[in-house]
């Protein structure tokens, strides 16, 4: 279908600009991240998390989301960053990601705090810089430069379901 009505300035780039749109910005330490708003179900304060034995360290446990039990991942640990005690600003972002066999599943991710909703156009998003050979950048959608600050756009489906994020961790260092 051709764009008959659109007079939007960015129409020309539509084939490649699937990365534009709204992002929820949050931070871990000094690093700013963004995830697509469509993946976000809700944001809640940190509540009692029930620890589950024999799970990876980044799995903090499970919480009760209105009667449903969902796992909670600490994104700091997942990214190999230093763990810090939770504060008033720490929160859990509930996201809906793709699971096995085309199912979707909800998970909570613990972040230091959420800041704002960004509206990114194709012009704002850049490809991930080459971190050097051998470093894969799956898990990253790209980078956004806004007001002189760089925000890392995450492919949250991949971040949460991949077993090995070593290369991403390297990239973040």
């Amino acid at each position: 279908m051709t764009a008959t009505v659109s007079d939007n300035k960015a129409t020309a780039g539509q084939a490649t600009d699937h990365r534009s749109g709204k992002y929820l910005a949050f931070h871990l330490g000094n690093e700013e991240f963004g995830i697509q708003v469509m993946k976000v179900r809700e944001i809640m304060g940190v509540q009692d998390i029930t620890a589950v034995p024999h799970t990876p360290h980044h799995t903090k446990g499970v919480i009760n989301l209105r009667g449903k039990v969902i796992p909670v991942i600490d994104l700091r640990v997942k990214f190999g960053l230093e763990e810090v005690p939770y504060t008033q600003r720490t929160c859990i972002i509930v996201v809906q990601v793709k699971g096995d066999h085309a199912s979707t599943l909800q998970m909570g991710i613990v972040v230091d705090g959420v800041s704002e909703v960004l509206n990114l156009t194709a012009a704002d998003v850049e490809d991930t810089p080459d971190f050097g050979t051998g470093v894969e950048t799956r898990g990253l959608l790209g980078m956004a430069k806004l007001k002189g600050k760089v925000k890392i756009l995450l492919d949250i489906d991949h971040v949460l379901t991949a077993h090995d994020l070593t290369s991403l961790q390297e990239a973040l260092r």
Binding site: M1, A3, V69
Partner: protein, 684 residues
Amino acid sequence: MRREWEARIDSVAAQFVLGEAATVAPAAEALAWMRQEAGREGWEEIARLAARIAERMASSPQWHTEGALAEGLDKLRRAVEAATAGDAPAAGKPPNELAQDPGLVGDFILETREHLISIENDLLTLDREPSQPEALHSIFRSFHTVKGLAGFLEFDAVRSLAHEVETILDLARNQQLAITATVIDVVLESADYLKQEMNRLEAGLAGAAAGEAAAVDALIVRVQSLNRTSVAAPQPVLAAPPEAVTDAVTGTATEAVTGAVPEAAPAAAPATPEPSPAAPGAQPPAAAPAAVQASAEKFSVRVDTQKLDHLLDMVGEMVIAQSMVRQDPELAGLRSPRVTRNLTQLSRVTDEVQKTAMAMRMMPVGQLFHRVARLVRDLSRKMNKPAGLELSGEDTQIDKTIVEELADPMMHMVRNSLDHGIEPVAARLAAGKSESARISLRATHQAGHILIEIEDDGRGLDRDKILAKARGRGLVGEGHTPSDNEVYNLIFEPGFSTAAAVTDVSGRGVGMDVVRRQVAKLRGRIDIHSEPGKGTVFQLKLPLTLAIIDGLVVGVGGERYIVPIFAVQEMFRPTPGMLSSVKGQGEMAMVRNRLLPVVRLHNRFSVTPRTQEASESLFVVAETGGRRFCLMVDEFIGKQEVVIKSLGEGMKNIPGVAGGAILGDGRVGLILDLEGVYGEHTLA
């Protein structure tokens, strides 16, 4: 164009994320744009969806917390993607597009499987009573429906086979063909083929490489050849009294006829009805109730099991919320008779809702029994041991999951009975028994449980032989004389009863230990009663539902765990004198003159306990898989009925954890899988 849409959808989505700070105006504006634009494009569905979302948003003050709205928005996004991606709307596409639609193919598989169950069931009825018009008619109708559906989806192998079988059955309906055992065999085989095809198609839906349909031509030829026989020997055989013939023919003849089927059965099997392996005395399941059931089903609704589980979850939460309200001290402080009365009414209604919701997960155990009936028919022929099956309590309702998970153990036990329990014909006659053996399946409700019994009138368990074997394996000490019950239970020990070996009916021989483990997984137990020369009874005691569990809530450090009550023997605070450390076996406790291993839960689960001192802790004596042990926890908190919840994908097979439950204060507690907890101990 598409970008424009995405931007608008995103801006609505963004409002959901902002939570309390969200404002309805920009979202409403964006939705109004979408509605108008969709109208101009002629995307009526999208326009309507946008309108419905806007309407719902406007009418709910808490709209930004509503998952349904977010889902609606997702749907809208997908619809827009579909509308902007393809070139034209769906009109005019060729019909074989139906076969590409996983939803329709899924419907087809589901429905065909339902028909297959009733086909098999009705065939077994016909096997006993060849002149049962209702059963015959019902089988005909099932194949007819399957044929029609397969036609739409262009599943040609299925369609052709169903068509041929339908033709044969139509002849039988019109009394131009006798329902012989050969006919039943071939139709059963056709049903088996359809079953395989459904599995293949289902695998295809799940994304597996499904491959081509299995070869069907040879089977079709055999179905057609049934027809030719009937033309060659058009005798009014339906009128022949089946009893007379059955009595006259021995099992050996049955075997010979069955064996001849693949090549030239039609020629070898003229118009005489084959003997039925089912004993003449066997009680046929009445056809009338089946018909009533069939028509009753027409008024039922199909519900996605996920939706049902969600409903059950929510009902569980409602029950908990209700009890929180009732126990609220502030409300109690009001001392208002009216509030009390209304709260009582609320809890009555909630109870009723919970019961109804639970009942929706239940299904009659009969379906399971009918699978066993098929097995008995096949095996009794193969082993040359005529046997009749008696069913009772088929309408007993039981949790759907239990029915599914129970199929394998039941099949195994029945096979075991036929293999080892039932004597060969000569031995039966010599023992003064009837030639045809009797196997009974019974289901009854019993005080919050369901009891399933499998009984045979065979030779019974051989106490001496089992004991000798057990002594040989060192399972029973030389000096010890176990009770009958203890001896019989030995057949459930791993590796004890693999003699059942391999049959092509239920696959590789699994031991009876697998049966016990499976039953334990369903939170049930199994007992054996046996009398030499008279027969054996297996008794399965199972919970009515798997959705709710009666548990003891215990605490370790800051965590709380739920121990399933059915496995708990007792609880006590140990005294220092009870404890000992046995070299190579770790900590042990002497409980009622038995030395039991001690499992410290905090060690298993790596949590920091309130106390390391056993004498300040609590011991829960639990039994799992026939082994008893002491579970050490900090404290006992209370007894509670909880709704079992999955911890979600990726957390399914955690050793020692059976699931999660939401406790009275809204926190999640883990439900222990004692077998897993103990299993880890033995590894440690």
